[in-house]
Symmetry: C2
Subunit: 180 residues, 2 copies
DNA sequence: CGGGACTATATCTATATTGATATAGTTTCG
DNA sequence: CGAAACTATATCAATATAGATATAGTCCCG
């Protein structure tokens, strides 16, 4: 969808090779974007045809020949146009949330176990993201936003979960002392 | 990815036609999942080959001939297997968050405007989701989770945004009286 | 010097997803 | 009655994404 713009963004400061870009996506864009070589190389060719990046071939100084890409003025303009653009619907299918919608197909015990497992996987992801080496301040801004979303989801599962699946205690019984 | 399981989930209570399923995804799964006919029909055929659903052709009682699908016992088992399954990484590319990561390519005024527009689009989406007619209690559970995520993102943009782009007031100046 | 890790480009397949189009009968409203 | 909206199945093309594979040179460690 907008991999072209992500590449333009990563190239905004310094020229990079395709391999470098793949690594940068892995390291700097971590939860926000991911893409493999098979997507990156064709997109770079497209960016070139559009005149948004320039390619310089480096002789095999060390390693195989390298293709170094840098943005053009038109490329930088395009990046800004994209950033200013009205944000579109931006919804995507979410397998985790879809599971929640059908959880009544499980018996109570199983349902409870599934919710706990979901919660645990979210916690693991949050911990992983927190332990990541910091990227630039703006990429980190995006990453933090993603963490906030995950934390909200975890809170919801913990609090709201109880309302949807009567756990050990039967529904309707409110015991104020039992708040652990 | 898991459209097959979403369809099994929607068929868990009552048999439906392909058209019906498309409508149900639109109405009941709203922010959590979306899919068009071109995905649904082939997947239904696949589910049939796997023995997870049965097809009954209804004569053109009213309208064209209808294909009514219902789950088999194997289909219900498969749905439960999926629900119990260890939740996988479940990350997807997020164009909105990606924009945040490159916001430094805009001048301060533009940057501020872009953040406000992003926030506004999130508010609009929250309002839309809140105004949706209620689905079953579990589908609503999934939808609520999605709303919680959006609200967390909005809070983050409002609070955290200020830290990243010094607005009118220079950074570092904390004025306790100005809390609206 | 050999093996393993790393840098690098590139292609192939499969699947997922979106959006458009074709066809056709039914219902509803004016 | 005619037009528009709705129910319904189905295919096509384009794009997006994931994952595997091929090739090949360099660097570093023991």
């Amino acid at each position: 969808m907008s991999l072209p713009h992500v590449l333009l963004g990563l190239l905004r400061e310094a020229p990079r090779t395709g391999y470098d870009l793949a690594r940068a996506i892995d390291r700097e864009m971590d939860p926000v974007w991911s893409a493999g070589f098979s997507q990156i190389y064709p997109v770079l060719a497209r960016l070139r045809r559009k005149g948004w990046v320039l390619l310089r071939v480096l002789g095999p100084r060390h390693g195989p020949r390298r293709h170094l890409y840098r943005t053009t003025a038109a490329g930088r303009r395009e990046l800004q146009r994209w950033l200013r653009e009205a944000p579109s619907p931006l919804r995507h299918n979410d397998e985790g949330l879809a599971r929640l919608a059908f959880l009544d197909a499980l018996a109570l015990t199983e349902r409870r176990k599934a919710l706990l497992a979901f919660e645990a996987s979210i916690s693991a992801e949050i911990a992983r993201l927190r332990s990541l080496p910091p990227a630039g301040s703006f990429p980190t801004f995006g990453r933090r936003a993603a963490i906030e979303e995950l934390e909200a989801l975890r809170r919801f599962l913990r609090a709201g979960g109880a309302a949807f699946y009567p756990a050990e205690a039967p529904a309707g019984r409110r015991d104020a002392r039992k708040r652990r």
